[in-house]
């Protein structure tokens, strides 16, 4: 049995540069707790994963994305 080759969703969307201000888009690549999704699960290619990681970290600093959604204050 051969695994199907995943296609990078960012390349497929025709995006050349991952923007840290687009938090709706970035939110697709974080887990429910707010962690960065590993590329082995999302299929993102290495170049875009690097861009994505720094974009998500910038977005976190700007409070566009949470650092951690694990324990919500009541």
């Amino acid at each position: 049995m051969r695994r199907q080759k995943k296609v990078c969703p960012i390349t497929e969307a025709g995006i050349r540069y991952v923007d840290y201000k687009d938090e709706r888009f970035l939110a697709r690549f974080i887990t429910d707790n707010g962690k960065i999704l590993p590329s082995r699960l999302s299929g993102v290619d290495a170049r875009h994963q690097r861009q994505l990681a720094s974009a998500i970290k910038k977005a976190r600093y700007l409070a566009l994305l949470p650092y951690d959604r694990g324990h919500q204050p009541q």
Binding site: R2, R16, Y17, K21, K58, R60, Y61, L62, A63, L64, L65, P66, Y67
Partner: protein, 121 residues
């Protein structure tokens, strides 16, 4: 030499709009020749997490050309401004990356990738 920057500011959402534009023009004045600063006001929005006592912030994005020598002064002013909750200045030069590949290069690349695929099986 001047470089192209992009700055995001998060202002205290309690400030009046006029006060925010006033602060912006005052800080941008420190950048020397303030030729065409592109401003994009996102307005007030919920922060993803609390920053101090703030739960909302007024977001503004600015794109400008500036001499790197003027930046330390500019950042100092932002840091001292109580109305600015947070700011991020980054280079806005990602358009300067490698040229897009030509059709021949793409074809060569595709042919090579197909060879690789055969090796995998």
């Amino acid at each position: 030499m001047s470089r192209n920057y992009e700055a995001v500011y998060i202002f205290d959402a309690g400030l009046e709009d006029a006060a925010i534009t006033d602060r912006l023009s005052r800080h941008h004045g420190l950048l020397g020749s303030t030729q065409d600063i592109k401003l994009n006001h996102w307005g007030r929005r919920q922060l993803a997490y609390k920053i101090g006592r703030h739960e909302t912030g007024y977001y503004t994005i600015a794109q400008f050309n500036a001499d790197p020598k003027t930046l330390p002064e500019f950042e100092r002013a932002l840091k001292l401004d109580e109305g600015v909750i947070r700011y991020l200045i980054s280079l806005n030069e990602h358009e300067l990356g490698a040229q897009p590949m030509t059709e021949e290069q793409l074809a060569a690349r595709r042919a090579r990738d197909e060879d690789d695929d055969e090796d995998e099986e």
